[in-house]
């Protein structure tokens, strides 16, 4: 196996390197594809191209949308069916918080069942109050109906896959294996879409639902530490690069905090441009620029405009960059979400 490798991952940023121990030390070019699933941390697609450390080539995704969004869609659909059948308006009914929770759990169960069954019944007793009486929910949902509900999301997921591949400059043909991880990777429509693209290269993870948690536990047990797989560097005005954090630097908040003093070499535009070198990010071609307000009126005292920039990595592997001109009240800040990192071996 030599080409890109794909798997799903990442419900929370600290859990991102979940499957890394499996691949460390192997000369592979993995590609990850995160389908919606589990917690609400979004749908992500990552292309992973390791060099010495395991690192990601690119990532893309739909924020704040995960497998439970499918549950929401099914729940809304079931509720609408009940309204239509009884010709009720939404104002005429009342659903208690407890009943809503039960309906949601039931919809999640039905969603899971529809991965293997053609139809499934959503049943919740005493769920809706209307006309002074309690009514049951008892709706039969066919798989094709469920797939119509989620089709737009799945198409968007496929688009994000294309975006990630494009960013990583990897073609579909270069992908060797697509490892499906996460509950929603079991949805037949999702599988069919990936099958169309990758054919026999799809591989099931037998523990798809728990793989992320297992990986997190393995990292903890092995006491692996995240490291920066690429240096974090800043472009300077003469075109040279200043290294803020070296490659291999521990990617921990307490170890990745640094304050750097700069001076603005040309304040005529009233702003200092902090340009983060593209190789800091997983998408190596992208640069991040932070425009920091400075005084445009310093003239010969230009060097008085010291620009203090603080780099801080947080628990979610997000690099926070905050800068302020010495003569200014207000500064500027940005976040870099796609730092390249790997794990200590």
């Amino acid at each position: 196996m030599s080409g890109p490798f794909l798997f799903a991952h990442q419900h929370a940023a600290r859990l991102r390197p979940v499957n890394v121990p499996v691949h460390i030390g192997r000369k592979q070019e993995p590609l990850r594809f995160k389908l919606p699933g589990g917690l609400r941390h979004g749908l992500h697609v990552s292309v992973v191209i390791p060099v010495a450390l395991f690192e990601r080539g690119a990532v893309s995704g739909i924020e704040d949308r995960a497998g439970d969004y499918f549950d929401d869609l099914l729940q809304s659909d079931v509720k609408q069916r009940v309204l239509d059948r009884h010709k009720w308006s939404p104002e005429e009914i009342e659903v208690s918080p407890g009943a809503r929770d039960r309906l949601r759990v039931e919809c999640e169960r039905a969603k899971i069942q529809l991965s293997t069954a053609d139809e499934e019944r959503v049943q919740v007793a005493q769920a809706i109050k209307a006309g002074g009486r309690m009514h049951h929910v008892n709706e039969l949902v066919h798989r094709r109906e469920f797939e119509q509900l989620i089709e737009r999301e799945v198409q968007e997921a496929m688009h994000q896959l294309d975006v990630a591949l494009d960013r990583a400059q990897v073609s579909q043909r270069q992908v060797d294996i697509v490892l499906l991880v996460g509950g929603s990777s079991r949805v037949p429509l999702v599988r069919a879409q990936l099958q169309d693209r990758f054919g026999a290269r799809l591989v099931d993870a037998p523990n798809a639902d728990t793989l992320i948690a297992e990986g997190a536990a393995a990292i903890e047990a092995l006491q692996l530490e995240p490291l920066l797989a690429r240096p974090v560097r800043v472009e300077l005005s003469d075109g040279s690069l200043y290294t803020v954090f070296e490659s291999g630097h521990p990617a921990r908040p307490d170890a990745c905090t640094k304050t750097v003093n700069f001076f603005c070499t040309d304040n005529r535009g009233g702003e200092a441009r902090l340009v983060m070198a593209g190789d800091s990010s997983r998408n190596g071609s992208s640069k991040f620029t932070l425009n920091i307000p400075v005084s445009p009126h310093l003239g010969a005292n230009y060097s008085d405009e010291r620009v203090v920039v603080q780099f801080t990595l947080d628990q979610d592997m997000i690099l926070n960059v905050a800068g302020r001109g010495a003569t200014q009240v207000r500064g500027a800040q940005m976040q870099i979400h796609d730092l390249c990192f790997g794990l200590s071996v």
């Binding site: 800043v234 472009e235 070499t265 340009v275």
Partner: protein, 81 residues
């Protein structure tokens, strides 16, 4: 979609001893505005870097062609000044 390869350069330099004196890192045209004494022809521009001389020359009217040609007409830097 057309993707441009044009991007703004950084205008920051690390404020430490390794990057001193600071004036070396200013664009030539800006340096001319804030420290014009560096551009005394009698010194032969020896206090400027090559890059600064080039940048300064970008904005001078050429003595040969009469335009801000930055030397593209074949005139020397001296003909620009």
């Amino acid at each position: 979609m057309v993707t441009s390869t044009v991007s703004l350069r950084s205008n920051l330099m690390v404020d430490d001893d390794a990057h001193s004196p600071k004036h070396k890192y200013l664009p030539g045209d800006f340096l001319r505005l804030v420290k014009p004494w560096f551009f005394d022809r009698r010194t032969g521009y020896t206090m400027l870097t090559e890059q600064q001389v080039r940048e300064y020359g970008q904005y001078l009217v050429c003595g040969v062609c009469g335009r801000t040609c930055a030397g593209t007409c074949g005139g020397s830097f001296e003909s620009l000044a």
